[in-house]
């Protein structure tokens, strides 16, 4: 038997979802009995059947990938509840298994998949997708690339009209329909190990979290997920700031980005120059801008 044939057969069994009681299914991918399937490839020993030996890998696989999803998406888990979250993850991973050498990218297709499979998030579709977007943004903000930051001298001699400011790759700009940043912070607090000092306290926090999810009202927010001193932060921004940062990120020149930012804006025209100056000052201080491409090219 060729190596690749054996590996395909074993991988199919190892990656096949477990039963509800977290055991290996008794039916193999092609419909035959799993015992016969396992026995075809794997030797039994004096203590374990072929199926039991294969099951060790099957269970390890699912425990590992489900653990990774739970670690990356604690907010989504809080919204869906542990049981529904795990069911959803099993369905997602069965359709979108890892295609990367690192588990970091395991949830990379989750947002798209959830939009295509809304039954998993039923009555909480918008909230759940918002939370997934936030949690994916957190991953990017945590270890995304940082280019050399913009310095004042980098702008000397540049034409403001044509200048394109690049936003740092790790800075994530989001428009959301729910204030999921508040919920995420609450859940993070909830997961603080100090909370487990007393059972009573744990129960009380759990209830608070469930209430927080249930009572969360829709509210449009604009958010930047970024990092400073290697820690991830959320920063609420205004609609104009969101439009400005999004335009810069998409490669628009500053003049054009500003024009787009104030389309249908309630900021009085008289105040706009000061508004823009203050934002650029703050964002540059936070290190959100990379050196302009013109400067790099010199």
């Amino acid at each position: 038997m060729k190596l690749v044939t054996l590996q395909r057969a074993v991988a199919r069994a190892v990656m096949q979802p477990l039963t509800v009681s977290e055991r290996m299914r008794r039916t193999a991918p092609g419909g035959e009995s799993m015992s016969a399937y396992a026995a075809r490839y794997i030797k039994p020993n004096d203590r374990l059947t072929s199926l039991e030996r294969l099951e060790i890998y099957n269970r390890q696989y699912w425990f590992r990938v489900l653990g990774s999803m739970a670690e990356d998406f604690p907010g989504l888990r809080a919204i869906l509840g542990q049981r529904r979250f795990e069911e959803m993850c099993r369905a997602y991973l069965a359709e979108c298994p890892s295609r990367s050498f690192t588990l970091r990218n395991l949830g990379a297709s989750l947002e798209v998949w959830l939009r295509q499979n809304p039954k998993w998030i039923r009555d909480k579709q918008t909230l759940a997708v918002d939370m997934v977007r936030l949690e994916c943004a957190e991953i990017e903000a945590f270890d995304g690339k940082a280019e050399p930051a913009l310095r004042p001298e980098d702008l000397n001699g540049s034409s403001a009209r044509d200048l394109r400011l690049r936003v740092q790759p790790y800075v994530q700009v989001l428009e959301l329909h729910y204030p999921v940043d508040d919920l995420a912070l609450e859940i993070r607090e909830d997961n603080n190990p100090a909370d487990f000092a007393s059972n009573a306290l744990t129960e009380s926090r759990k209830n608070t979290r469930v209430r927080a999810v249930a009572t969360l009202e829709p509210k449009q927010i604009f958010l930047v997920v970024h990092r400073m001193d290697f820690s991830v932060y959320f920063r609420r921004i205004e609609r104009e700031e969101f439009a400005l940062l999004s335009a810069l990120r998409s490669g628009k020149a500053i003049a054009r980005a500003i024009a787009l930012a104030f389309r249908r804006s309630s900021v009085p025209e008289f105040d706009r120059a000061g508004y823009v100056r203050l934002r650029f000052q703050t964002w540059a201080t936070l290190g959100w801008f990379c050196r302009p491409e013109e400067i790099d090219a010199r």
Binding site: M1, K2, L3, V4, L6, Q7, R8, V10, A11, V14, M15, R40, Y41, I42, K43, N45, D46, R47, L48, S50, E52, R53, L54, I56, Y57, Q60, Y61, R64, V65, S68, P97, S98, R99, S100, F101, T102, L103, R104, F142, D143, G144, K145, A146, P169, Y170, R227, F230, S231
Partner: protein, 283 residues
């Protein structure tokens, strides 16, 4: 003998795995440690805290890279993006050698993120050796392959695990990261004498040794890295050191991780075997 071309003729002592719960202790207390082993994949990223921590560690300690997803034994070609990122990290750490497992874990671009056992066939040995050579040629540093612990054996196998290991390392002309805990775990799961394994390995190719703890279940032993090293594993370690000499040794402790001091104390127990070997050589 222990400083050899498979570990770039280095003479590293006893190291421990660099793990997140110990970062603060290491950076603030700066304990004396011969070297740290990092999991390459944890640092094959573009930026942020992990690389910041790593740079601080590199300022003060020797670091060796150990991978978990190269899958030398997978039938598919090495992933180009993986190799590119790995090479970037190699440049950053200046690791004298690099290790990964003699196993497979991906097929048709799908990853199991597990260290799956090889079928011990001549075809698998040839393909695996070819891949080790490709990776070494791309990275331009010595490679050591690590024997994994396993819970299953394949009908198609044509040789023992240690014969397979020898076949691969001879064909690839690479080093061995000899994990004596993995040998012990597999010996219990597959009913073989672990000393046969240790005695059969080409000692001149051993670049590094791993020690670790494991967990016993009713019908099998699982390689959990969440305990101190058990006596039978120390005995295998002693034998490995007698054969390979004073070899770079690394304690793996990946789950239920205790304090830095406890992990380091456990690793340093290896000294009693290393000292005996040094004395024996001196006599």
């Amino acid at each position: 003998m222990a400083a050899n071309r498979f570990n770039a003729f280095t003479d590293y002592g006893i190291g421990i795995g660099l793990r997140a719960p110990h970062y603060q202790h290491i950076l603030s207390r700066k304990p004396v440690v011969d070297w740290f082993e990092i999991i390459s994949e944890n640092f094959m990223i573009d930026g942020g805290r992990p690389l910041h921590i790593l740079d601080q560690i590199l300022d003060q300690y020797k670091v060796v890279q150990h991978g978990v997803s190269m899958y030398f034994g997978s039938a598919e070609k090495p992933d180009r993006e993986h190799l590119r990122r790995l090479k970037e990290l190699v440049k950053r750490t200046k690791t004298p050698w690099l290790s990964d497992h003699l196993c497979w874990g991906s097929v048709d671009g799908r990853y199991t993120h597990d260290l799956l056992p090889m079928p011990y066939t001549f075809e698998a040995a040839r393909l695996t050796a070819q891949k080790v050579r490709q990776v070494r040629d791309f990275l331009e540093i010595p490679i050591a392959v690590e024997n994994v612990s396993s819970y299953a054996e394949f009908h198609v196998s044509e040789m023992t695990e240690w014969e397979f290991l020898n076949e691969v390392v001879e064909q690839a002309d690479c080093g061995i990261l000899l994990d004596v805990n993995n040998i012990y775990v597999s010996s219990q799961n597959h009913n073989f004498d672990p000393f046969n394994y240790v005695n059969s390995v080409p000692a001149q190719r051993v670049a590094q040794i791993h020690i670790a703890g494991h967990s016993k279940f009713k019908k099998y032993i699982l390689d959990t890295h969440d305990h101190p090293v058990l006596d039978p594993v120390w005995k295998l370690y002693e034998r490995a050191i007698q054969r390979a000499g004073h070899t770079a040794t690394l304690l793996e402790w990946d789950d239920s991780i205790p304090s830095f001091q406890e992990v380091h104390r456990e690793a340093l127990k290896a000294n009693r075997f290393l000292s005996e070997t040094t004395l024996a050589v001196a006599v």
